[in-house]
Symmetry: C2
Subunit: 360 residues, 2 copies
DNA sequence: GTGAAAGCGCTAACAC
DNA sequence: GTGTTAGCGCTTTCAC
């Protein structure tokens, strides 16, 4: 356990081999868990490794392996939802041969730099969470490494998986209509990601259910939500239900309503979007649309894994054997031509901020 | 920019050298930005690299370099404060020779595993954010790589940097006393990290300022804060000021007060702790104690960097030269015996939830 | 200013 | 079952 007290180097496989009285190849077999070593030897090697404090050098292993099983994940430190996705992704690769390599986008570090690092580590595939780059630029920086975009819908050139926002808003509308609401307002956030899809979803769902659907600007923050609430209160009549662009905006509305004595849901029903942590807290209890973090993360990982496998199969292994040095032309592995796009259904989480309208 | 359309390999230095008509050594010099290449050559090499889409292999570079300048950072996905720290740390290494390598602690992945990965990548130093492991275990898994704990105070065996909680609470007490409050309550959270320090800080500060200081249990969540608020309202007389263990608890209290028509700060002053994002929002405006994220992150990075430099200086470089193979005993580099402990002062952020007591 | 060559720690044929 | 060996892509003397 405790390392020997002499100066210098970290233990390597050679040291373990020496300590156990075997060859390095055998040590490699044992630490990799590969077949080809007797139980007795395995035990002796593992013992020796433990004794001298051996930790396998990942840099060397990765360098030597023909292809990396690692999945590089590019995420934003500022995005709580990304952290949820990270949890799911880590869980998804537990006890597989894959592991996750992280690269963060921060205020001082752009997405390009983050992705570049992942390429420099030669990940087998890359997942970019909520990428802000155009697909052209994305595939350029990925430079041949399979790339999957999660939490954002992209065009036809790239693999991606995101929530089905159109369906999500429809869920909210249907919920209110079923409760008996006839006039519902959607507080959209102009220019925000997914705004177009949500607007369309709202209009379509309102039409389909015969409700009066009005779209107003309600922003993505508590402040803008509060402002909208004030504006709504100034109307002759309050709409019976309002769907916020996200939970933060809904929270801003709720705050104004509570302070002004407007009872929720008796006087007005409020629906959020995101099912953020705060929405579920006991003193908030906001009805909201939940994105399926689990499904999204899982799908992104599965897509990435399948791309890694693709590379294996489409690889040059058969021809590589016996190839004269320098005989193969330099280039990147080709991508599979078929891209996958996945829209993950959202779900409605009914809590305390929605109920039948007063008039019923 | 676009890679050649042939099958297989990624471009290596050899390919760049060939494309530019120089040797690989020269390419290395150029991509490292080292001295020893003419401007003309430099340009030619960079051009060639760009043309064939060369990205330097970080695994190979790291493996070959005698020592790594990388700082491994172990963080928890669930901790918003860790993400702030990541931002600061990334900013701190921008345009230095150091870079950040991330390893996440998630519900499915313990701190031990996260730290182990960092060791496997042979980082030059490791920073663990808010480590939950005992120092004995920490140094065991770090196995000779310098380790710095941030956002938690440790004993004498380890480098660490954390907020000065004792001083932080004192700040809150002094603020209330200066406003004229004589009876203040501290809602502690038994067993939470930093609770002991905060309790002591509260008692000492109350004593020193001649105020009546009472410590009650108020927990770390909105729910427990709300419960405490209810309990306080049942008393014959409300204390004139209450200091919550953190912002979440304070938020729970505020929610109860608002709903019950208790005016803040007129009827009671409330102080939070953390200066979380929500505390500053326009509809909350919570007076709170802010941890100095910037200073903490910066200090942690500086400590880590200094440990990396230590290793260089304490290294075996001079003796290593001309050493017969196998002549040096296997072991880890020795740590500097002197550990650094840093308490970062917190600051008071005065917002709208504190004011003079009603009796004044 | 430039090139040849050794080797970082590991894996994976291949021989025995 | 076990040992020998040839590199993965890079950096870094050391000659020229």
């Amino acid at each position: 356990m405790t390392p020997p007290p002499s100066p210098g180097r970290r233990p390597t496989m050679r040291d373990v081999a020496q300590e156990a009285g075997v060859s390095t190849a055998l040590v490699s077999i044992v630490v990799r868990g590969a077949v080809g070593a007797s139980e007795a030897t395995r035990g002796r090697v593992l013992d020796a490794a433990q004794r001298i404090g051996y930790v396998r050098d990942e840099r060397a292993r990765l360098l030597r392996a023909r292809r990396s099983m690692d999945i590089g994940v590019c995420f934003e430190t500022q995005q709580p939802f990304h952290h949820k996705l990270l949890d799911v992704m880590y869980a998804a690769v537990v006890s597989t041969e894959h592991s996750i390599v992280l690269s963060a986008v921060t205020p001082s570090r752009g997405e390009g730099a983050a992705l570049h690092d992942l390429v420099a580590y030669r990940c087998g595939a890359i997942i970019s969470l909520g990428s802000r780059l155009p697909s052209q630029e994305l595939s350029e920086v990925a430079s041949g490494i399979p790339l999957v975009v999660a939490n954002r819908s992209m065009g036809q050139e790239l693999d991606w998986v995101s929530s089905d926002d159109e369906q999500g808003i429809a869920l909210a509308v249907e919920h209110l209509v079923e409760l008996g609401h006839r006039d519902v307002v959607f507080a959209t956030s102009a220019g925000a990601a997914g705004a177009d899809e949500r607007n369309e979803g709202f209009t379509a769902a309102a039409e389909k259910s015969g409700a009066i659907g009005e779209i107003v600007e309600g922003g993505s923050t508590e402040v803008s939500g509060a402002e909208l609430a004030v504006a709504l209160l100034e109307r002759d009549e309050l709409p019976s239900g309002v769907i916020a662009f996200n939970d933060r905006s809904a929270l801003g509305m709720l705050d104004v309503f509570v302070r002004r004595g407007v009872r929720v849901p008796h006087d007005i029903s409020v629906v959020g979007y995101d099912d953020s942590e705060i929405a579920g807290r006991s003193y908030v209890q906001l009805t909201t649309i939940a994105q399926d973090t689990q499904a999204m993360g899982q799908a992104a990982v599965e897509l990435a894994v399948s791309r890694i496998v693709d590379e294996f199969e489409g690889g040059v292994r058969p021809r590589e054997v016996g190839l004269a040095p320098g005989a193969s032309e330099t280039s990147f592995p080709r991508r599979s031509p078929e891209v996958s796009s996945l829209r993950i259904p959202t779900t409605l989480v009914v809590r305390m901020t929605t109920g039948p309208p007063r008039s019923v």
